[in-house]
Symmetry: C2
DNA sequence: TGTAGTAGATAAATCGTTTTACCGCAACTA
DNA sequence: TAGTTGCGGTAAAACGATTTATCTACTACA
C-alpha cells in the first residue's frame, strides 16, 4: 500500500459506456479488441472509431484479474533499489533479462529490499506472473513468501532448497583460480575487501570466515580464496585480513583500502570481492602514491567493462552477467509455460591484466614511490 | 499480451475459502488484514493463523481493481529496454527515481520502446498509477496514449505541449558553454558525434542541423554548439562535421571517431553528445596513437562518474542525473496526490578536465605521435 | 424494565473486463 | 419444404478482493 494518498481519478469512459454508445453488448466491444474475426469488419471499425472519440482504453487491472495474468515479471534486488543502478553487474544482468522479456512481450517490475522494514513488503501485493530473485540471502523470507503464493520464481546466485530453479556461476573455483594466481606470484599476505556478509553487517575488520556469509556469492568467493591458501600450505586466518564494506560501491572500496593499507604490516595484495571495490582500491593506491602492480597488486571480481579500461587494467574473474540474465529470464518463462527447466551453472574465468604482479621484496615498497598513472 | 502461453495455475486458496474455513464472512477476513480495529483480537489471530496454514495471501490484481490503484509507477525508456542498462545517465536517473519511490512505497515498472512494432505497445495494458517518460521524442504516440488513458505522467527532457509537467536541464546553454570553451582555445573545426536524431536514424555522416532532431536533448545540444559558433563568427556547416551513431554506447563512439579521424582534413576536436560516446572516441584516439589533448581534444556531455576516472579525464558538461530522477518522481507523486506541481528546469555546468586543450599548430599533429597513457 | 449505545460481524454491491453458452436469422443443401 | 450450417451478436457468470450499510447481541444506565 502506498504511503501517499491517491486522489480518486475522475471517471473515465468504460467498456460499458462504449457499448451503450455504439448500442452493442459489452461482449462485442471486447471481441472488437481481441477477437476481430467474431464480428463484421464494419461493426468493428465503427466500434474502434467511437472508442477513439471517447478516448476509451481497456483497463489493464480488470483485464489482469479476468485473464489471471499480468504480462509482468518481477526482479527482486537484494538491497535497496537505489543501490541497484550503481551496481554494474546487476545492470548487465538486467540487460540480459530485458533482452529476453522484451522478445516475449513481458514487462519488468523492479523491487528492492528494505531490511529495516517488514521484510516481505517488496514482494507482497505486487501483481506479477513470476519473480527473479537476484542474490537472495539464505532463508530469505521474501523467497518463502513467493513460494506460498505459489508463483513461479528463479533464484540467481541463491541457495538450493527452496524448490525454485537456480542460476549460478562457478564462484568458488573462480575465486580459487584468482587467489592461486596471487600465491603463485609469491604473495603471502592478502587484504580482502568484501561487501556485507549479511544485510546490515557492520563496516570494518572481521574474521575471514566464509561460513558467516549469508550471501552465496560472498561465501563461495571467500571459500575459494581460503581453499587456494590451504593448497599452498598457508594458514588462512594469518594470510588474510578481511575488511567488510556496507555496500558495493567505489567509494566504499576506497575507504576500505585506506583502512587496510594504513594499518600495521600491510598486505602485498588487495583482493576485492567486486570490481567496483577494486576500482575504489585503485583510487586509494593512487592517493597513497603506491604503485600498482609493482608495490601492490589489486584484483577484483566480475570483470565489468570498466575493468578493462582503467589504468592499470584490472586482473579479475570474468562471469557472464548478461547471459546470466538471459538464462534466468528463460527459466522463468519456461515455468510460466508449464515447462520445468533444470538449474544452470555458468562458468567463470580468470582474467589476468595489469594490476597484479609479484610482490616487491621487503623494504622495496617504501622506495617504490612514484605513482602508476602517467 | 504475452507471446508465450501461460499455463493455468493450479487453484490456490482464496479469500472465500479462508472465510469458509474460519466460518466468518469474507468481509471479516478483509478487515483482519486492513482494519484490525474492526474485529476482536482473538478472532483476528485465529484468522491469520488459519491463513498461514492455508498459505493464503491476498491477490494483488483483485485488490488493485477494487482499490483503483496499483502502487506502481511506470518508467518509459526511449529505446529498447536492453539498451537502458548500459546507459549510465539513465541508471543514475533511475537511482533518483528509486530513492523517492521506495520512500513512498511505490514499486517501479520499466518499459522500453519497440519502434519496429506497434508503437504504443510498451504503455498499453500495463497496470500502473502513472508514468515517467525518459527522453520521449517529439509527438511520441505513447505519451499521447497515456494522455488518453488520463493517467498522470511526467516528461523528462521532453517537449512542452502535452499538458504534462516537464523536468528538463539547461541543455542548450551547457552545450553553448562547452563549444565556446573549445572556440576560445582556438579550435576551428569540430567533429560532432551524436546519438540518433530520430528513432531508426541511419548511422553515418549527416548535416549538422539541429532542427532535424526529434529528441530534445540532441536538438538543444546541437543548437548550443551552433550558437557558440555563430557568436565567434564561424560558419557552422563548415565548422562542424556530424556523425550519427545508432545507440549511445562506447563501441559506437569508437567507430564514429575512427570514421571522422580517418577522413580528409580531420577536425582538431571531437565533440561527443554523451560521455559514453566520448569514452569510445578516447579509445579510438588511443588506437590511432593520437595524443589527447595535445593533438586532439575530446569532450563529452553528461559528466558520468567514469568521466572523472578515465585517462585523460574528460572535459564535459555536468548535469544532475540523480536529482533529475528525484524531481521527476516527486512531480509524479504530487499528481497522484492531486497536487499539480510546476515543471522544473535543472542547471548544467561546464567541467573542464584534461581532455581538452588548444589545438596543435598545423603540421604539428603528425609529429605529436606518442600516446597519452603512460 | 425499558432504552440507548456499542462492539462485532455480515450481506450485497462494486471495481471493469473476458468468456461460455446460447439464440436468431439468412443462406445453402437435399 | 425441411433440415443444416454458419455468421453475428448477446446475457450472464466469472475473476477476487473491499466497502457501505445494516443487523444482532450484549452492556450500561436511568
Amino acid at each position: 500500500m502506498a504511503a501517499v494518498s491517491v486522489k480518486p481519478r475522475k471517471p473515465r469512459a468504460r467498456l460499458k459506456d462504449l457499448a451503450r454508445l455504439v448500442s452493442v453488448s459489452p461482449a462485442t466491444i471486447s471481441n472488437a479488441y481481441h477477437h476481430p474475426e467474431r464480428l463484421s469488419a464494419t461493426l468493428r471499425a465503427k466500434i474502434l472509431e467511437h472508442a477513439d472519440r471517447l478516448g476509451y482504453h481497456p483497463d489493464p487491472t480488470a483485464r489482469g484479474l479476468r485473464m489471471q495474468t499480468t504480462g509482468t515479471l518481477g526482479v527482486v534486488y537484494a538491497d535497496a533499489l537505489s543501490w541497484a543502478f550503481i551496481d554494474p553487474p546487476f545492470s548487465m544482468f538486467l540487460q540480459g533479462v530485458a533482452e529476453v522479456t522484451q522478445d516475449a512481450r513481458f514487462r519488468l517490475l523492479l523491487a528492492g529490499a528494505t531490511y529495516t522494514d517488514h521484510e516481505v513488503e517488496p514482494v507482497r501485493n505486487v501483481a506479477v506472473d513470476g519473480f527473479v530473485f537476484y542474490a537472495p540471502m539464505m532463508h530469505d523470507p521474501r523467497v518463502a513468501y513467493v513460494g506460498q503464493r505459489e508463483l513461479p520464481a528463479v533464484l540467481v546466485d541463491g541457495e538450493p532448497g527452496s524448490g525454485f530453479p537456480l542460476v549460478g556461476i562457478e564462484d568458488e573455483s573462480g575465486a580459487f583460480a584468482l587467489a592461486e594466481h596471487l600465491f603463485r606470484l609469491g604473495h603471502k599476505k592478502l587484504g580482502i575487501i568484501s561487501m556485507p556478509l549479511r544485510p546490515g553487517y557492520p563496516i570494518g575488520f572481521a574474521e575471514p570466515d566464509d561460513a558467516a556469509a549469508a550471501f552465496l556469492a560472498v561465501r563461495d568467493r571467500l571459500a575459494g580464496y581460503a581453499a587456494a591458501a590451504r593448497k599452498h600450505g598457508l594458514p588462512w586466518p594469518e594470510v588474510a585480513t578481511l575488511y567488510v564494506t556496507s555496500v558495493n560501491s567505489i567509494e566504499q572500496g576506497r575507504q576500505a583500502a585506506h583502512a587496510i593499507l594504513s594499518g600495521p604490516n600491510p598486505p602485498t595484495a588487495l583482493v576485492c570481492l567486486s570490481d567496483q571495490l577494486a576500482l575504489g582500491a585503485l583510487a586509494a593506491a593512487r592517493e597513497l602514491r603506491i604503485a600498482v602492480p609493482h608495490a601492490l597488486s589489486i584484483v577484483g571480481y566480475d570483470d565489468i567493462p570498466e575493468a578493462a579500461r582503467t589504468t592499470p587494467s584490472l586482473t579479475t574473474v570474468h562471469q557472464p552477467h548478461v547471459e546470466k540474465g538471459r538464462v534466468a529470464a528463460h527459466l522463468l518463462l519456461d515455468q510460466l509455460a508449464g515447462r520445468k527447466s533444470p538449474s544452470r551453472l555458468l562458468p567463470t574465468r580468470l582474467v589476468v591484466r595489469d594490476s597484479s604482479a609479484a610482490p616487491a621484496r621487503a623494504g622495496r615498497r617504501a622506495a617504490a614511490g612514484r605513482v602508476t598513472r602517467g
